[in-house]
Symmetry: C2
Subunit: 462 residues, 2 copies
Amino acid sequence: MTAAANNHSVRFSLVVLGAGPGGVDCALEAARLGLDVAVVERAELGGTCLNRGCIPTKLFLGATECVHELHAQAKLKVASGTIEVDLPALQKRKGQLLSGNRKALEKRLADSGVALFRGMGVVTSSDALTVDTENGPVTVGFDRLVIATGSRPTAFPGMEPDGDRVLDSDGILDLTEAPSSLIIVGGGVIGLELGRFFSRLGATITVVEALDRIAPWEDPEVSKTLAGLAKRDKWKLLTGKRVAKLVSKDGQAELTLESGDTLGADIALVATGRGPNTQGLGLENKGVILGRGGFIQVDEYLEAAPGISCIGDANGQAMLAHAASHQGIYAARLAAGKIEGPYAPGPMPWCIYGAPESIRVGRMVDELKAEGLSPAISRFQLAANPIAQSHAMAQGFVKVIWLDGRVAGVTAVGHGVSHLVTQATLMVRDSWTREDAENLIWAHPTLDEALQHALTAEPTDD
Amino acid sequence: MTAAANNHSVRFSLVVLGAGPGGVDCALEAARLGLDVAVVERAELGGTCLNRGCIPTKLFLGATECVHELHAQAKLKVASGTIEVDLPALQKRKGQLLSGNRKALEKRLADSGVALFRGMGVVTSSDALTVDTENGPVTVGFDRLVIATGSRPTAFPGMEPDGDRVLDSDGILDLTEAPSSLIIVGGGVIGLELGRFFSRLGATITVVEALDRIAPWEDPEVSKTLAGLAKRDKWKLLTGKRVAKLVSKDGQAELTLESGDTLGADIALVATGRGPNTQGLGLENKGVILGRGGFIQVDEYLEAAPGISCIGDANGQAMLAHAASHQGIYAARLAAGKIEGPYAPGPMPWCIYGAPESIRVGRMVDELKAEGLSPAISRFQLAANPIAQSHAMAQGFVKVIWLDGRVAGVTAVGHGVSHLVTQATLMVRDSWTREDAENLIWAHPTLDEALQHALTAEPTDD
C-alpha cells in the first residue's frame, strides 16, 4: 500500500530509507520475518540499478548483441549484412520495461504488507523521519532505521556534466540520437560498458583514463586483454592522462588535457566515479559518521549508530546492486533478531558486461603477493574453447589463483565470461581443490569447460 | 608419436580402441598415471563429437547467433537489417577449425607419450588387436583394453539416407547450399539443433516425431515451451506421426507417413537415433556381450569382460561426449590401480543448444512420481529476468525439483540456459537446500539469478 498521507504520524518497527535493490530486499525480508516495515523513497522504486544503472545498460548491450555477433562473423567472412538500431525505439522499450519492473516492485512491496512513503525523508528526531510527501509532511517513527540511500555520479571540478554535450551516466542513458563520436572520461565499468554500446551504434570511442590502464581495478592481464580488443575495434585509449577541463562549446564537447592537448567529440561522458547520497538526511542528530567521500561509516554489523544500519552504496563497501541486496537481507535479519554474528558476505562477484566481458571473484595475484603470500596460478586460453570459437571471439582467458592447493580467486576475460561468475563464486567460497573440479561432470561443449580446464591445468607461480 | 608401422608387433599395458573424446581422455589420464598407452583409431581423431557432432553443430549455431539476435530485436522494432550467411565460407571455417583441433589432439597425445595407430583395429587373440594400417597389419598387444568405438546415425528401414536428398546428421553437416525447405525426422536433440541452424539460414522446417511431443526425453513443460517457440518461428510440428517411407525423388525428398499422407522438401534429415559401433571388432573372442541395439553390456566397473572396459556411446549408458570422457578417466584410473570402487558418475548434465536452449540434470518430476515419491517444485519465469529481457527472448523458465527439502533435479528452457548447467549439476550433486542458495552472493544482473530465484521460490506440489 502507499501509506495514506493523512496519517500525519505513523510508527513502524523498521523503516528503510531508499527503495533501491538493497532497500527493497531489506524491506521484503523484514516483512517475511514478521516485522512491521515501511520504505521511504524520494524518486523511482528500484534505485540506480533499475533506472539508471545495471538494468538499462544490460538492456542496451543485449539489444545490440546482434551488431557485435554480426561484426565478429563478418571479420571471418562467414556472414555479411547491415543492422540499423532504432535508438528512439530502444528508449521506448527501455521506458516500458523499467516502468513494468517498477510496478512489479511496488506490487511485491504491497503484497508483503510493506508501507511505502514517497518523498524525501529526513531524520528529525531520535526515533522518527519526516517525509516530505506530495500531500505534506508525514512523521514516520521507527524502532530501527536502515539507510539505503545509494549513490549518484560524481565529477571532478572543471568537468561537471552540463546536460548539453557533457553528460554523466544518467544523462547519456536517455539519448535518442547516437553520437558519431564519444569521449569517455574514466575507463572503469560504467565507461567501458557504455562505450561498447555506443561503439555498436557506430560512434568512434576515445577513453581518457588518469591511471595507467583501463579497468584499473582488474587483474593487469585482464586490463591488457580489454585494451587489446578495444583497440582492435579502433577505440583510442589515452591512459595516464588527466583532464584539466571539459565543456560544451559550439555544439561539441571539448576536452582539455592537463598537457594542454585538446580533444573534441559529439558527446563526452563523465564516468569518473560515484558518490553516496548521504547529505541532508539529518543523520548528524543520530551520531552517524560520514567518512571519506561522504560514505557512512559502519561497524562489522553494518551499523552506523545504535539502531541504525547502513547498507549498499551509501556505506561504500562494494558499490554493487547484489552487494546491497545481500547486506539488506542481513540488516533485516539483524533487525528481526534472527542473526547475531557480524556481517560475513563471503566472496563478492564483480563483472564487466559487453564483448568482451570480465569477471573477478576473491583474491587476486597482486594483492596476495603484496601480503607476502605465494599464490599459484593456473589458466586456460579461450582460444581452445569451442563456444568462444563458435562466436568468432576466442581472445581471453580464465585464470585461477590458488593458495595452498585451494582456489582463492578467479578472474576471466572474453566472450560471455559473465556466465562463469556464479560457479567461480561457489568455488572461491568453498575453497575448491583440483579434486573438486574433477569430481564433477562438466557438460561439453560449454564455456564452463574453460573454467574446468583452468582448474585442472598445472599451476605455475606466475 | 604415430607408431612406426614396421613394428609389426608391439605391446602396451593399456590399449584404447577409438580416439573420440572418451578414448582420448582415457589415454591421456592413463599416460599421466604412468601407464604405457596406445590408441587405435580408424578415422579422424576426435570422433563424432569433434568431427560430426557437438563441435560443428555448436559452431553453426554460434556463427548464426547474429541472425537469431537480430530477428528477436526486429520483432520489437528495436533493430532492423539483413544478414547473409555464406555457407561455403562457414564450411571452410569448420574445416579449418576441426583440422586445427585434430592436430592439437594429436599433439597432446604425442606430448603425453601415447602411441597412435591409425587403422581399423580388430581383437584377434586373447591379448592383442590387429590394426589394419596403411602400411599393413600391425599386432598391438595389451594387458588391458578399453573399447571406446562410439556410435553412428541409424535409420529405420524405408528411410535410409541415400546421400542425395535424404541425409543423416553426418551428411547434412557438409551441405554447402542451404535447403529452402527441410523435413526433420526425429524431434530429439540432433533434429532440433540442426533445425535451428537451417531455420536461421531461411529454410522452412517440418519436424516429424513418432512420439507425442518433441524433445520427448525432457520434462513435458520443457517440450511444450520448445514447441511453442518453434511454432512461433513457423515450424510445422507433426507429432505422433510415423514415417512409412522416405526417399529422394525428382531432386526432392519425399516422405510418406503411415497415414498415407505425403510431404516434400528440398532435403530430409533422418535424426531418429544413433547406434553403437560394436560390430566386427572380434569381441566375441573375449566374452563381451552385445545387448539390445548392439550396445556392449558392462558391469558397475564399466567392464565388459575381465580386463576389458567399455566407455562412451558404445555402452549406451549416456550418449554424450562428457559422459564418455568421465567414463574414460575412470577406466584409466581403474587400469592404473588408482581406483577401486564401482563407477559412480553423479548427476549428468544434458543440454539442447540453440534458441531456446534447454537443460536437464538429476531427477525429473514424472520419474519421481512414478516411483511413488512426492517431489516439491519451485520455479522462476525467465520473463522476469533482465538478461533474458535484454535479448528480447523472455519465454521459458527454470524449475527446481526437491525431495525432502533438497535439490533432486533442475530443468530449464529459454534464452542461454545452457549457461546454468554446471551450477545446476553442482546443486544436484551436493543436494542443496534453500539455505545453500541464500548463503551465496549471486551477481546481478545475470541469467544465473533465474536459478537463484527458482531455488528460493516457495515450492508447490506441481
